[in-house]
């Protein structure tokens, strides 16, 4: 759906307050978010604008993080990229094809625990192989491999209610990986983890991302985490949710928090976030 008023309004907004240089190269436009807006019908009958004029392109194999205050629309934007919710304005394309629903290469790790309570850890992960054409034994075998990857092979036969929040989150990650998605959409995936596990999984995620060349869109509240992982950090501002600034993280990997450039970027993002 092309809404010319919306496009013109957003173009004007961009020229007034540029957030980042725009690319026109199709290679760098693997995911193209074009003037996306989202309004929800409020209970009072009025409507609230949750996203407005979101313009962003994400290159293939890029690792992009969204940071921003609670309620600024990160989850909503991720859901729209996932094809789980429709944009009310604008459009998103993946590899040139408009997103019309899930199943265009997007795998999702949800913010809330979205494991199926009636399936054990291994069966939850095996659920991710449902459409892979593998038979049941192969699905379970591969699910076990993924559980091992996230360090949960010992908990394979536990039901979600028998696992801690962090364990459930790791199973969710394994389940999303089962889909072998081109695009991994992760909504605060490490939020419920202790520091040590979090750092281990950050490394694991980087390893998977580098080895399997996935495009990752990652939501986090931790500037440190975003700086450790991302190629670019997109800072969102609330009411209505919009992109405030995009930061290039031009640091070589593996990164260290003690580098001066790391800290300089941290300060810069912190300042922008808190004003």
């Amino acid at each position: 759906m092309l809404d010319h008023d919306n496009l013109a309004r957003c173009a004007l907004r961009r020229s007034e307050a540029p957030v980042a240089k725009r690319t026109t190269s199709p290679f760098l436009q693997f995911i193209a978010i074009n003037s996306v807006g989202k309004t929800f019908a409020a209970r009072t009958g009025s409507s609230i604008s949750v996203l407005d004029c979101v313009d962003l392109t994400i290159a293939e194999n890029e690792f992009v993080s969204f940071v921003g205050r609670s309620g600024c629309g990160k989850t909503t934007l991720l859901n729209i990229i996932a094809g789980l919710e429709d944009a009310t304005q604008g459009q998103i394309t993946i590899a040139g094809r408009p997103v019309t629903g899930p199943g265009q290469g997007q795998g999702v790790v949800f913010q809330q625990h979205a494991l199926f309570p009636w399936l054990t850890a291994v069966d939850n992960v095996a659920f991710g192989f449902r459409k892979s054409g593998l038979n049941k034994t192969d699905r379970r075998q591969k699910a076990m491999d993924l559980l091992t990857l996230v360090g949960l092979e010992a908990a394979a036969s536990k039901y979600p209610r028998e696992m801690s929040g962090g364990m459930q989150q790791r199973v969710s990650i394994a389940r999303a990986l089962a889909l072998d998605p081109q695009i991994l959409l992760m909504d605060e995936p490490f939020g419920a983890l202790d520091e040590l596990t979090r750092i281990e999984l950050q490394h694991e995620l980087l390893r998977i991302w580098e080895a399997q060349r996935k495009t990752v869109v990652f939501v986090t509240h931790s500037i440190n985490e975003a700086l450790m992982l991302s190629d670019r950090i997109v800072l969102l501002a609330p009411n209505p949710g919009r992109i405030k600034r995009v930061f290039d993280v031009d640091l070589p990997r593996p990164r260290s928090r003690t580098e001066p450039r790391f800290n300089a970027l941290y300060e810069e993002i912190w300042d922008e976030l808190s004003t």
């Binding site: 859901n79 996932a82 789980l84 629903g101 899930p102 199943g103 997007q106 795998g107 999702v108 949800f110 809330q112 979205a114 494991l115 199926f116 309570p117 009636w118 399936l119 659920f127 991710g128 449902r130 459409k131 039901y159 979600p160 209610r161 999303a176 889909l179």
Partner: protein
């Protein structure tokens, strides 16, 4: 087991003291035996009921069996109708919106108030009793099935959609399993309703069944028989409910945290 004993001992002792006081209270004339029949009366009444029967020839066991058959017929019939119907209504928002007022209304009508009308329809025979039990169970079950299917955690549906599930497969693999705990809860509630209705439904047009026994006992001032009937209904309800709980544990081992809301 040993460690548990001290915990159940105090209530048992309290019960024993109460029963002895009751017995003595009746013997020394503080309580009227037809208002508060003592334990000894209840025990001898039970022996009489299981040998001679009351009315003569109808033993307590045949009363119990008759009641059980009626309840189960109505209950199973209600479940057999309510589950598929509830699944269909719950799957379509339009149907739910359309039927919601009717369901709430019918569920709220006190089942026994329909008794005169149902007698006009079906006479005072078996069908009336089974119908009344079925009616009570049906609406409770139906509203629970609808709610179970309708209010599945949306994040689970979203997760399943990212794995390419939709339509019938989404329903079978996600909506139905997610609704099962609620469906089981409905089945337990419906059973309770069935036993509430039965006594009233058996109070007319029959001499068989625990409800009839209780009413008949009243006519003859045999309060101890009323109490026996009441106790047996309680024990049966308790046993079936425990059976359902065990079945649920077996079929839904993942839903263990439902213990808290089980009652």
């Amino acid at each position: 087991m040993m460690r548990r004993f001290p915990q159940i001992a105090p209530p048992l002792i309290a019960l024993a003291i109460l029963l002895v006081a009751w017995e003595l209270g009746v013997r020394y004339g503080f309580l009227k035996p037809y208002q508060f029949p003592p334990v000894s009366r209840i025990a001898s009444g039970f022996v009489e009921l299981s040998t001679i029967g009351f009315p003569t020839g109808v033993s307590i066991w045949s009363h119990t069996l008759t009641t059980l058959v009626r309840v189960l017929l109505g209950y199973v019939g209600a479940l057999a109708l309510a589950i598929p119907l509830g699944v269909v209504i719950g799957s379509f928002q339009v149907l739910d919106k359309l039927t919601a007022p009717l369901v709430v209304f019918c569920r709220s009508v006190a089942t026994l108030s329909l008794l005169p009308l149902v007698i006009v329809w079906f006479g005072a025979g078996e069908l009336t009793k089974v119908f009344l039990i079925g009616y009570g169970c049906f609406w409770v079950m139906l509203s629970n099935v609808i709610a179970g299917v309708r209010y599945v955690d949306p994040v689970l549906v979203r997760a399943a959609r990212t794995f390419g599930l939709h339509g019938g497969e989404l329903f079978r693999r996600v909506v139905l399993p997610a609704a099962l705990p609620r469906i089981f809860a409905g089945a337990r509630m419906a059973l309770g309703v069935g036993f509430m209705v039965i006594v009233g439904a058996e109070m007319i047009g029959t001499i068989e069944g625990l409800g009839a026994l209780i009413m008949e006992a009243r006519t003859f001032y045999r309060s101890e028989i009323t109490i026996i009937g009441m106790l047996i209904i309680g024990v049966i309800g308790f046993a079936i409910s425990a059976g359902l709980t065990a079945l649920e544990r077996l079929l839904l081992p993942w839903a263990g945290n439902l213990d808290a809301v089980r009652r």
